[in-house]
């Protein structure tokens, strides 16, 4: 069973789905949606089967495949999943069908749901020419282009995201890391809000600039490996290199900045609120839920094991950045009027927690960080979806435009509350466990940082509950022109329910996750040459065992 090339198959299925979409006739929207949904469900089923086949007690990397791709550079097509990559791939497999279901009408004609009940015809008008724009009195916020393109982009993005986590060759990882930008860029630029081209450009340039710095570091790594034998990009061979400390710091910086932009850590975060707010809801879920995780995943997979010495030296500074991010992100979130910007800023704070867990160099902290990556994908994904449902109804992203929505739409309000509580890490929900682990793990090495980060937990309660209270409670007020709001219908409930169910399930029973993640974290700690601080010591550095 394990001989089946799981990762390659799972990665290729969405790409094939996208090709099928491209071959289908232009107008058949319902068919496009069904094909996209079907493809993503096939991926989900395959991923569940793969997770079942994963042996937590087995090798670190499983489902390994390696073929020479570009022997001239020593590049291999090499994939394999450790526990960390596995849970993140599983997260992708869960989120994509949810996103497709939730974005069912997002790519249809602008204003269609609001103005008239015939989305199909309006979509046809807008797809033929710019003529549709004149029909509406108010300027269309975002001329939508093509249902087929939207879902094809989502599927291509899924392939890239799976590839980036599955790659065990640094070159291959870089290829996916950069190529993944393009579908996201088009998702934001073609289907986003009013300032979509600004946001798309900002997203692309930030990511590309970081990516190119990483390219320089990748090349440097290759040259170092070539000087110590054969030039290679294979992850496990690279961890065995002896790199001098100054070179480590230089290469680490190249990788770190790329990942810090992607994650995003303070002060590299400024693109996220724009991209998060302007992208379509489905895009935002994938962007914040998965794409940004590549940054934190990169810290764990590449920065620490490849450059242990540099990580040890620079770690404390990064901890400072993370703590600033937690507090600053939370404070900015509180001040936002735009619901989607608010959620984006909460993510800045959450990524601070993840970074804290990673760079605290404790098993608990890193396990917590990995769990946090998954749980943040679920909770923020749900929050974005519910916010998207509300925005689709009210056609406004501004919090002050809404009040007392709970009276009209109790299910909407309930899911919003649940997703929000998960975001603030209420015990019983999955995010609590990860946040708790991160804080414990950090405390044993950096108690001050842990205490400051704990303040972020309180701030999170404020910004989430405040947003809930302002929009859902109180006297009824809706954006001008609306008298009523419909509650969630079946499709929307189906989209968001799996996320909520998983949050509750993993909140009470996180063992399936921790079983898989723990060995991978242990291996990472070992690669990085760090061990947990001895309990008696309580604070300060422990000597790293020589490798």
């Amino acid at each position: 069973m394990s001989s089946l090339p799981w990762l390659t198959v799972i990665g290729l299925v969405p790409l094939l789905g996208a090709l099928v979409l491209a071959a289908l006739p232009r107008g058949a929207h319902y068919l496009h949606k069904m094909v996209a949904l079907g493809t993503s469900l096939v991926v989900l089923v395959l991923t569940i089967a793969m997770c079942a086949a994963f042996d937590p007690a087995g090798d670190r990397f499983q489902f390994v495949q390696a073929y020479d791709w570009i022997p001239a550079f020593g590049v291999q097509y090499a994939v394999g999943a450790d526990g960390i990559a596995l849970v993140l791939i599983a997260l992708i497999a869960v989120l994509v069908p949810v996103v497709i279901l939730a974005s069912w009408h997002d790519a249809d004609a602008p204003l269609a749901a609001h103005v008239a009940g015939a989305p199909a015809t309006s979509a046809r008008v807008s797809s033929t020419a710019g003529g549709g724009a004149g029909a509406d009195a108010e300027p269309a916020p975002a001329p939508k282009r093509g249902v087929r393109t939207f879902f094809a982009l989502v599927l291509v993005l899924e392939t890239m995201m799976i590839g980036v986590f599955a790659a065990t060759d640094v070159f291959l990882f870089y290829v996916f890391f950069e190529a993944m930008l393009l579908p996201m860029y088009f998702l934001i630029g073609l289907y986003g809000g009013p300032r979509r081209s600004y946001a798309a450009m900002k997203f692309l340039l930030y990511s590309l600039a970081g990516g190119l710095l990483m390219l320089a570091a990748v090349i440097g790594l290759y040259v170092v490996s070539a000087s110590q034998g054969e030039g290679t990009f294979a992850f496990e061979r690279l961890t065995e290199l002896e790199i001098s400390t100054p070179v480590q710091i230089a290469l680490f910086s190249g990788f770190f900045i790329a990942f810090a932009i992607k994650a995003p850590l303070f002060p590299f975060h400024t693109w996220l609120p724009d991209a998060g707010a302007e992208s379509p809801v489905g895009g935002a879920v994938l962007l914040v839920g998965v794409l940004d995780k590549v940054g934190t995943f990169g810290f764990l997979r590449y920065c620490l094991p490849l450059f242990p010495e540099a990580s040890r030296i620079l770690g404390p500074y990064i901890i400072v950045l993370c703590v600033i991010g937690i507090l600053y992100g939370a404070l900015l979130a509180m001040g936002q009027k735009d619901l989607k910007r608010l959620i984006s800023y909460t993510s800045v704070a959450h990524f601070g927690f993840i970074g804290l867990g990673i760079f605290a160099f404790t098993t608990q902290g890193q396990t917590g960080a990995v769990l946090y990556m998954v749980n943040h994908g679920l909770s923020t994904g749900a929050l974005f979806l519910v916010a998207g449902f509300l925005i689709a109804r009210g056609r406004s992203r501004l919090i002050p435009d809404y009040s007392g929505v709970a009276a009209l739409a109790p299910i909407l309000a309930g899911t919003f509350l649940l997703a929000g509580l998960s975001s603030l890490a209420l015990p019983g929900l999955s995010t609590f466990i990860s946040e708790f682990l991160v804080l414990i793990g950090t405390f044993s090495r950096y108690p001050v940082a842990a205490v400051l980060a704990a303040l972020g937990v309180i701030l999170a309660a404020i910004y989430i509950l405040l947003a809930y209270q302002r929009t859902m409670q109180g006297t009824l007020r809706l954006p001008s022109g609306l008298t009523t709001i419909k509650d969630l219908h079946l499709r929307e409930v189906l989209a968001v329910a799996p996320l909520l169910a998983l949050m509750i399930f993993l909140g009470f029973y996180p063992k399936p996750l921790t079983d898989v993640v723990n060995p991978a974290v242990d291996a990472t700690m070992q690669d990085a040459g760090r061990s947990d601080p001895a309990p008696t010591q309580g604070r300060g550095e422990t000597a790293a065992p020589a490798r």
Partner: protein, 512 residues
């Protein structure tokens, strides 16, 4: 007493590609003279195609040859054959672009009577006329022949001859645009004047180097650099002068000033030829001069080339940001790419050489095809090259806009395109050769170039088309085939570059 004349050793087989192209050029001249006007175009296309395909076949048959011939003046070796083969294919593609008749209402991109004064009554008549001349074909063939010779010259005097053979027809061709005659004539004059200056510098450098080494053979110059008691001032000044001539042709800063004007004014197919082929040929000559003639004096020229590479990358990338014309933007982008290629040249290693060869091939196809796309977007006055006119192109013609976006991605060096592999090859060689700082400048400049490429994508896909915007003309098989070829090469080299990398690796050995 009778002077004894030694007959030079001439081997014709190794120079067969050159002979075939020059023969085709001569036949092409005869065709101009003797074939009736009505059937000239078809005959000319066939002459060009047969000549270049045969030249490519000869290159393939010669693969692996390493031979000095014509008394050591011509070196037939890996780099020469690799670049000659590339030039044959790209040259043919450029000639197919020149042969396109279905885009411009009056037929062809080339004016019939170039000497008519712009703005005069005759010019107005000419603009409406549908007459077509075909002298562009022999010009293009001679230029291509000169380029192919340029990459194989082991002798500086012959290199000068090749430089003139490739340049003179280009000066003329730059002035032949059917539309916007004034710009085109300006381009021709500028190119000619500056090019003549550069040639003079080159010639002066050759003279000084002859004074230094007592020979114009690159092998002899290399030998002279190893002996004591030579006059180093002659060497340095001579090399600097020589470099001016060559760096002018590759479009490196500070000798890039002609690039935007000439690229903009020339007929777009000619621009494509210049951007792809001239750059390849000039880099071939530059590589040979630096690697063969001055391989031992790298400490003398490397600092200078470092400075030029950094300037070229930064100036090209930054100035491209401010451009509002597609052709000018591509011109500055070509300047930036010259800088990237120089990183590979400076590495002065087999990896640097093979990386540069690979880059030249990849870049040639991508840039040629991008200019081919530019010929498709037209309004009533000809090509619509102002960037604002490209707004919303993605909605009017997703296929053309998508193809162009892919070429831009390749130029920006996004993974899974040829541009990425090429950039990786030269940057890896650069770091390996100790030019880490140069590579860091390179990646920062790449990020800047990504900005203006992405801006065009934003315009095409995320903006509304203007009401009186240009239309996308439907090309014949000539242009469509060229674009398809460029697309195929850009994709293939991005996904499966190994065969071509092997080819470049095997070719990366100069002889002298």
């Amino acid at each position: 007493m009778p002077v004894e004349i030694q007959s030079p050793a001439l081997a014709y087989a190794p120079v067969a590609p050159l002979l075939l192209v020059f023969a085709a050029a001569l036949i092409s001249v005869l065709v101009e003279a003797f074939v009736p006007a009505s059937s000239r175009r078809v005959v000319q296309i066939w002459v060009c195609a047969v000549g270049l395909v045969l030249a490519l076949a000869a290159v393939i048959l010669l693969a692996g040859t390493e031979e000095l011939t014509f008394s050591g003046a011509i070196a037939v070796d890996g780099p020469a054959l690799f670049l000659q083969g590339t030039l044959a294919v790209l040259g043919l593609a450029a000639i197919l672009l020149l042969s396109e008749r279905s885009l411009d209402s009056s037929g062809g991109a080339v004016v019939a009577r170039a000497a008519v004064l712009p703005g005069s009554r005759e010019d107005a008549v000419l603009a409406e006329a549908t007459e077509v001349q075909t002298e562009i074909y022999p010009l293009a063939l001679f230029s291509l022949g000169g380029m192919m010779l340029f990459t194989a010259c082991n002798n500086l005097l012959l290199m000068f001859v090749a430089l003139e053979v490739l340049s003179l027809p280009l000066y003329l061709m730059a002035g032949l645009a059917r539309r916007r005659r004034l710009l085109s004539q300006e381009a021709a004059v500028k190119y000619f004047l500056l090019g003549a200056f550069a040639s003079a510098f080159f010639m002066y450098g050759v003279a000084l180097l002859y004074g230094y080494a007592g020979s114009v053979d690159l092998g002899d110059i290399f030998a002279a650099t190893g002996t004591a008691g030579t006059n180093d001032a002659l060497l340095f000044v001579g090399l600097a002068m020589l470099a001016v001539g060559l760096l002018f042709k590759v479009g490196a800063v500070p000798f890039q000033a002609w690039t935007p004007d000439v690229y903009q004014g020339s007929p777009t197919p000619v621009t494509a030829l210049m951007a792809a082929c001239t750059k390849i040929a000039a880099f071939g000559a530059l590589l040979r001069v630096l690697y063969v003639g001055f391989g031992r004096t790298e400490w003398d020229w490397r600092p200078m080339m470092w400075g030029i590479a950094i300037l070229t990358m930064v100036v090209g990338a930054v100035l491209a940001v401010t451009q509002t014309d597609v052709k000018r933007m591509l011109a500055y982008s070509s300047v930036a790419h010259t800088g990237f290629i120089l990183v590979g040249v400076i590495a002065l290693s087999p990896q640097g050489l093979s990386g540069t060869l690979f880059y030249l091939l990849a870049y040639g196809f991508t840039t040629l095809a991008s200019f081919a796309v530019v010929t498709l977007v037209r309004d009533s006055s000809g090509e619509a090259t102002h960037l604002s006119q490209w707004a919303g192109l993605g909605r009017k013609s997703p296929l053309v806009a998508g193809t162009f976006a892919f070429f831009l991605a390749a130029l920006a060096g996004i993974p899974l395109t040829s541009g990425f592999m090429a950039k990786f090859a030269v940057f890896a060689a650069g770091v390996d050769g100790g030019a880490t700082a140069l590579v860091i400048v390179g990646v920062v400049a790449s990020a800047v170039t990504a900005f203006f490429y992405a801006r065009v994508v934003v315009l095409m896909f995320f903006s509304e088309p203007p009401l009186d915007g240009p239309t996308v003309a439907v090309p014949s098989g000539f242009t469509a085939g060229t674009i398809a070829l460029g697309l195929a090469v850009s994709v293939l080299l991005g996904v499966l570059p190994q065969p071509v990398l092997d080819l470049a690796d095997n070719a990366a050995q100069f002889i002298y």
